[in-house]
């Protein structure tokens, strides 16, 4: 029979790995200006050949799949809530740490709904068709969360 000697195991060694992607990248001719626009407190949409304005802007027309020549126009900052969902328990990845609404917001001048957060305080402040407007962060970095939306009445 084989004999196994049991000994106390020392504390296992610990190693810290830091994973990095040490390169920069460009976001291209449409998403790049869109996110830079957020930094500068401007929301940009892309004009499509049939006269619509896509927000967020895309490099192609989702209706036809055809490439769109970048023709960016400013929309908002006000808009109308098309549909909404009340988030009772925000996750650590959500843009707000207290209950809020996700909404599809048709910004003034746009022909599509932008998904974003509405900081409305409570669910009874939300309704489809309500007016909302942009509330900008003081420190903006060119990111979707540079802005959230609030009821126009509260702005």
């Amino acid at each position: 029979m084989e004999c196994v000697l049991l000994r106390p195991v020392p504390e296992p060694p610990r190693t810290t790995h830091t994973i990095e992607f040490p390169y920069t990248r460009t976001l291209g001719p449409v998403i790049g200006p869109f996110l830079t626009g957020l930094r500068d407190q401007r929301i940009l949409g892309a004009r499509t050949p049939n006269g619509g304005v896509l927000v967020p802007p895309l490099e192609w027309d989702p209706a036809t799949g055809e490439a769109i020549e970048p023709d960016l126009v400013e929309v908002g900052p006000g808009g109308t809530v098309e549909t909404w969902a009340w988030v009772t328990q925000p996750s650590r990845k959500h843009p707000l740490d207290h209950p809020f609404a996700f909404a599809l917001i048709r910004l003034d001048g746009a022909s599509t709904g932008l998904l974003h957060a509405v900081d409305a305080g409570s669910m009874d402040q939300m309704r489809t068709g309500m007016r909302v407007t942009a509330r900008w962060k003081d420190e903006r970095i060119g990111h979707m969360t540079d802005v959230v939306f609030v009821p126009e009445a509260a702005a």
Binding site: P56, P62, T83, S91, G113
Partner: protein, 350 residues
């Protein structure tokens, strides 16, 4: 097109938190599907798997699932980072080449270990949607609200769909939730992400499903009543949720049309309605009236093994034909947020 039929299928139970690893619970499922098909493992000419490495958090996690297939001597195989229903589609395409007569498709996933809202947020546009932490439940809630506002469904309808689905699963040994209070009781519950309540959501499930496909001669030789694939098609809609009509499922309608759903009456439909309101959308998109038995298995609201749940709809539809006496069945699978991409498969007994 060559005639192809489903000649074998198997599913694991649906577990809230499986102690087994994915290859461990896949192995008996694949073995059972092969045994029920009455074939030898070595006769399979092509194998295709559907799974999601993001669920296990490991790159190339899908490779270890091949342990459950047996890949020595070397086999011809492929993988889709999608539900197993799309693996079946690839296997069906492969059989159209005509040089092999048997193929295996399977799907598997363990949803339980991770934070699903964060994992599924990663399938979205990385610049405009993922940074908001947009999660499947919130996006589904936007869709439900749009339907409620339009008047195409009520919260009571949604509760009734939940109750009926879960009660239908009473006799389904693979299901996870097999009973439900009635709609009145469900409507007393608070909102989770309004307008959705807990019962509007699927359970969190771990599980697997496998299906064996055969070309005509082989199918007739090995199976008493094969389920013939008479049509299969999948279509996709724009990614941004604000750039399509959430109150309709145009891609389902297109896929159903190309798969030939309305060529003849349908006895049974197995729909991948992961949220209650989506069952209504899918029924309307496919033109299924009240005579069609929808989700007699209980559907995804009773068991939602992600990456296998769509293939399980096809397996249940095949079972309705091979064992349940149905003449014609429709199976549906979906991918992406708010029914962005949809697959429709029409099965017939003769």
């Amino acid at each position: 097109m060559l005639d192809v039929a489903i000649v074998g299928y198997a599913q694991s139970p649906s577990w809230r938190n499986a102690e087994l690893t994915e290859p461990q619970f896949l192995f008996p499922v694949i073995s059972e599907a092969i045994e029920r098909a009455g074939i030898e493992r070595r006769d399979i000419g092509f194998t295709c798997a559907g799974s999601c490495d993001y669920l296990s958090g490991q790159t190339f996690a899908f490779v270890s699932n091949l342990e459950a297939v047996g890949a020595w001597p070397p086999i011809s195989e492929s993988h889709v980072e999608m539900d197993g229903a799309w693996a079946l589609y690839e296997a069906w395409v492969r059989l159209q080449h005509g040089d092999i007569d048997l193929a295996l498709a399977f799907g598997s996933g363990k949803s339980s270990p991770g934070r699903l809202d964060e994992v599924f947020s990663l399938q979205l546009d990385p610049y405009t949607l993922t940074p908001l932490g947009a999660d499947p439940v919130s996006l589904a809630a936007l869709q439900a609200r749009a339907m409620l506002d339009k008047g195409t469904i009520t919260e009571r309808d949604m509760a009734e769909i939940a109750a009926r689905s879960r009660q239908s699963a009473a006799d389904n040994p693979h299901a996870q939730i097999r009973s439900s209070p009635d709609a009145d009781a469900l409507l007393q519950e608070p909102y989770l992400t309004a307008p959705l309540r807990r019962h509007d959501l699927p359970p969190v499930s771990d599980g697997a499903c496998a299906v064996v496909l055969a070309t005509a001669d082989r199918a007739r030789a090995t199976c008493e009543r094969p389920a013939w694939i008479r049509g299969i098609d999948h279509r996709v809609e724009p990614h941004q949720p604000g750039m399509r009509d959430l109150t309709e499922s145009i891609s389902t309608r297109q896929a159903a049309k190309h798969a030939g759903v309305d060529d003849a009456p349908v006895d049974v439909a197995e729909l991948c309605a992961t949220f209650t309101h989506q069952e209504r959308l899918l029924r309307e998109a496919m033109g299924l009236d009240d005579t069609v038995r929808v989700n007699p298995s209980g559907g995804p609201l009773a068991a939602n093994p992600v990456m296998a749940v769509g293939l399980a709809r096809i397996a249940e539809a095949a079972r309705a034909i091979s064992e349940g006496g149905a003449g014609r069945a429709v199976a549906h699978a979906t991918s992406g947020q708010c029914l962005q991409q949809n697959l429709v498969c029409v099965l017939e007994g003769a």
